[in-house]
């Protein structure tokens, strides 16, 4: 399968006073189109930094990040913004919905940023996505009127409404109870399988890892294990082991 994301000798350093924190060191990895991959590792291992680099909201200190064949280091802010808008979808741990907008408006928002669609086309696309995450009755409600699971489903709908090539999710189930978290992962998996959208998400939850095609293990900013599909899919294998990390 054609790679959608490639990292070549990527390092990311953050200054912390007089010190320099090496958040990522010489990371080398490839994600193929349509993969459902999780990034695992203890806190501070570099999961969020890796997702930020892949999500084009940060650039590496050294090395190259290629998203859909484009090196993010070569792009200016405008081009990076364009790339995020048209090729990437984001799901956040704290949902990060716009509190003053309704469910419908939150999902419609990325389409408005993209432009180029008629109101009817947008409405149809939004309604389809909302139906898919089973929130049609809550269309006019605002985020504070929804449960945590419902909010995360809105976030999924918002991330997917633009039909992105890659969806990045930073611990999408961390703020949900285990049953709701499982439902959310099942929903993401279902969309991944039906639309061939590439999903890349970080998690601590072993039950979530079990559902991934592949588990990439990070430790101290380095790849400890790139995992393979067969290992990750086997609940008694890598995924279960990583749960103890």
């Amino acid at each position: 399968m054609k790679p959608i994301v490639e990292l070549r000798q990527v390092s990311k350093e953050y200054p912390l006073g007089k010190l320099v924190v090496n958040a990522l060191r010489d990371v080398e990895m490839t994600i193929a189109t349509g993969e459902f991959t999780t990034i695992a590792g203890p806190s501070g291992s570099g999961k969020t930094t890796l997702l930020n680099l892949l999500g084009c909201i940060d650039v590496p200190t050294r090395g190259t990040v290629l998203v859909d064949g484009q090196s993010t280091s070569d792009l200016d802010d405008r081009a990076l913004t364009h790339l995020r808008l048209h090729k990437l979808g984001f799901i956040f741990q704290s949902f990060n919905l716009i509190s003053v907008l309704t469910l419908f408006q939150n999902v419609e928002f990325p389409l408005l940023l993209q432009g180029g669609m008629t109101k009817a086309e947008r409405t149809q696309r939004v309604l389809e996505m909302v139906e898919r995450v089973d929130l049609t009755p809550q269309l006019t409600q605002r985020p504070n009127e929804l449960s945590g699971g419902q909010r995360q489903r809105v976030a999924i709908a918002r991330a997917l409404v633009t039909r992105p090539r890659i969806v990045l999710a930073d611990e999408p189930t961390a703020n949900l109870d285990s049953a709701t978290g499982q439902t959310i992962i099942e929903l993401m998996k279902e969309i991944n399988q039906s639309d061939q959208t590439t999903f890349l998400f970080s998690t601590h939850d072993p039950r979530v890892m079990e559902r991934a095609d592949r588990v990439i293990l990070l430790k101290d900013g380095r790849i400890a294990s790139l995992g393979v599909e067969s290992e990750a899919s086997d609940s008694s294998g890598q995924g279960a082991e990583l749960g103890n990390v």
Binding site: N52, G55, I57, D58, D77, R78, T81, H82, R84, L85, H86, L88, F90, F92, N96, I98, S99, V100, L101, Q105, E108, F109, P110, L112, L113, Q114, G115, K119, R122, R158
Partner: protein, 449 residues
């Protein structure tokens, strides 16, 4: 367009969400806008008073007057051949409403109780359309100690010879009431001191500062005092349908008189009495026409408007700066509170320009709403104050505001300008915090807690 709509929704709902902050800022912006409208209405009111008093007491919208010099050292403010000059004006003035002519003089007004220097306006009351309509008679109690709350006299008695209509301030200084006599003394243009007695037939309410400088008498009284022929005039006063065309009309009439062979003085934007010395020093004899607009005739009073506008400008500037700091601070708080949200929308693909627009819209919306409310409230308050005809107790203030009651005039253009200006100030005040918000890196904003 749809994007703008959603930005407006976000801006509006964010303002509603932070309702206490929004309310406080709205009240401050509305208060400054209201003050701005009130000050501009006051300035407009004074301007209206100035026009009203000038065009009632001392000038037409355009004036054809002049000087006659029998010798080089003379400077008599009279024109010969009144009828011809008036006919030329009547036949050649576009947008003409009506024309009158008056005699002019500068006299000592003397009574047993006092004396004052004043201008004398010789009028034909049947010819004057504006004067009897505008001049309101004062209660006797306003100008005479122990006087009654009744209006005495009648302006129309100026038809009778040797009568006079004076103003309440003059009546107080001269110690006279209706029916009393005043002696006017002046030098004729032949250099002989002459006097004329006149009976006060009415005392009018003051029309600002200019009321101190004019007493109205029949034309014949001035002609007698200066021993002039009735073929002469002090000036032809032209009233136009649109006062704004005064300057243009004066230019046109200058050309008309020049074409008919009249000598014209260079245009000097001053009243006739300010030109005596300069004319007396000029090396010519005979007659020259001098043309002015109403503004020229009251140019010595325009400092009042300038002073009022300057004070207003400084006051409003200081208040606008305070408002701007308040807006900046509030928007900065708003940016800090919503940094995480900003990171999210930037990560989703919102451009820096859109972030800037979003915050600017929020501030501009607040400014537009608050200044609209403040502006309309200010206009309503100004109209109410004016309608209440509140008397001004201090004579000095009355003199400056050119009226004995508080007169505020709402000008729609000024109202719109005030609302737009305050909206603009509010919007621009948000520029710095908004651009800071727009410059935030998504990753930094996302990490903000």
């Amino acid at each position: 367009m749809n994007r703008l709509r959603i930005f407006l929704i976000i801006a509006f709902r964010n303002l509603i969400q932070a309702r206490r902050r929004t309310l406080l800022l709205s009240v401050a912006i509305a208060a400054v806008t209201m003050l701005l409208v009130l000050l501009m209405s006051l300035s407009q009111g004074v301007n209206d008073n100035l026009i009203r008093s000038a065009t009632t007491l001392s000038a037409g919208h355009v004036n054809v007057s002049g000087f006659f010099k029998a010798t080089i050292g003379d400077a008599a403010p009279i024109l010969d051949d009144r009828a011809t000059i008036r006919t030329i004006v009547e036949q050649n003035t576009p947008g003409l409403d009506y024309v009158i002519d008056r005699q002019r003089g500068w006299v000592s007004a003397i009574t047993p109780s006092g004396a004052l220097q004043t201008g004398l306006a010789g009028i034909d009351i049947d010819d004057e359309l504006h004067f009897p309509r505008v001049v309101q008679l004062a209660l006797e109690s306003a100008y005479r100690e122990g006087g009654q709350d009744v209006v005495l006299g009648d302006v129309n008695k100026l038809r009778e010879p040797n009568t006079a209509v004076i103003f309440e301030g003059q009546a107080r200084r001269l110690g006279v009431t209706v029916g009393d006599a005043i002696t006017f003394r002046s030098q004729t243009y032949r250099g002989i001191t002459n006097t004329v007695d006149a009976t006060v037939v009415a005392v009018a309410r003051d029309i600002g500062l200019l009321s101190n400088f004019t007493i109205f008498v029949p034309k014949q009284t001035v002609l007698e005092l200066y021993q002039l022929s009735d073929k002469t005039t002090g000036g032809v006063l032209i009233y136009l349908k649109d006062i704004k065309k005064a300057e243009e009309t004066m230019g046109h009439l200058r050309q008309v008189f020049e074409e008919r062979g009249y000598d014209l003085m260079d245009h000097q934007p001053e009243p006739f009495f300010a030109k005596f010395n300069s004319v007396a020093g000029e090396d010519w004899t005979g007659q020259k026409i001098d043309m002015t607009t109403w503004e020229d005739e009251v140019s010595f009073l325009t400092w009042i408007l300038t002073a009022l506008d300057t004070i207003s400008f400084f006051l409003i500037t200081i208040l606008a700066i305070i408002i701007a700091i308040g807006i900046m601070n509030t928007m900065w708080i708003s940016v800090r509170e919503r940094t995480r949200e900003l990171g999210t929308v930037r990560a989703m693909g919102m451009t820096r320009r859109d972030v800037l627009l979003l915050f600017m819209l929020e501030a501009t919306m607040l400014g537009a709403f608050a200044s609209l409310v403040g502006g309309l409230f200010g206009a309503a308050l100004a109209s109410a104050i004016s309608a209440a005809t509140i008397p001004i107790p201090l004579e000095a203030v009355r003199a400056i505001l050119l009226s004995d009651t508080l007169h505020l005039a709402v000008n729609i253009q000024h109202l719109v300008l005030s609302i737009l200006a305050m909206t603009l100030v509010t919007g621009l005040s948000a520029l710095w915090p908004s651009s800071r918000a727009a410059r935030l890196q998504p990753v930094q904003a996302m990490q903000n807690t």
